[in-house]
Symmetry: C2
């Protein structure tokens, strides 16, 4: 295997400040014909402010002035446009987090909820071959890896 490459959220690749993230996403949405509205900016801003995968409910609580439906519609739009991705916990709870470039998987800490992206790990090719051996043409896969992050392994 290739040595796995890891990006810890907000460390190795520091993101621009939240406001810039919001502007960036809003402009990308604009290119696709989606309007620039205050509630939508609030949703994006709150999403960007989360330190780890978050739930729709958490965003609703963080944004009491934004309608519940608007939060859900905003999240759906962001997923559809690839700005954020969905994360499934072991108990099947659905969470979200800002997308990073390209295809990757999530390492999720069962203790503190932290998330790290796993990139450069060639599971995909392995799966494609295995699927082919079964006569399947793979079109996609869903993979979540659960465990304990470095901090929680020590504790």
């Amino acid at each position: 295997m290739t040595t796995a490459n890891v990006r810890h959220r907000g460390h190795d690749h520091p993101r621009p400040r939240s406001a810039a993230v919001v502007d960036d996403i809003v402009s990308q949405l604009a290119e696709q014909g989606h309007r620039d509205t205050e509630p939508r900016r609030l949703v994006i801003g709150a999403a960007a402010a989360q330190g780890r995968p978050f739930t729709a409910e958490e965003l609703c609580v963080a944004l009491p002035c934004v309608g519940r439906a608007t939060v859900y519609r905003g999240l759906r739009l962001l997923v559809e446009t690839g700005q954020i991705c969905r994360v499934l916990l072991e108990d099947r709870e659905l969470r979200y987090q800002l997308s990073h470039q390209g295809h990757h998987h999530h390492l999720l800490c069962a203790v503190c909820g932290a998330s790290a992206d796993l990139v450069g790990c060639d599971v995909e090719e392995l799966l494609r071959q295995a699927a082919a051996a079964a006569g399947f043409r793979m079109s996609g896969h869903w993979l979540e890896v659960y465990g304990r992050c470095a901090d929680c392994v020590i504790a």
Copy 2:
């Protein structure tokens, strides 16, 4: 990688007829102190009769004489005792299917819904190493592979 080994449901390893499957599962449940009841047998029988991953709702429809709660409770018991396993479709719809031995993953056909088990594919070790590179100690993972089965690739 090791050459992936594949089991197509009901082909390479033909299962005993449905009634025998039911008896087998019921006796395993009995060993764990669970009673042998008619509704439970019906649930197991219906589950065994499905040709592909099924939903709780499908079982309820197939068993109009069995209470909805009983179907759900039966499925939960079967999952807890390892007799059946959960399968997640790409849209996150939850389905079930009879378990096979050991750890494996599912190849799911997006067209016809068929399912094949992927065994002997050492994704796990690859993931463990990748997780370790990120400082994570892996404790588990969830993987579903989506695509088209041999029949549906042709069609």
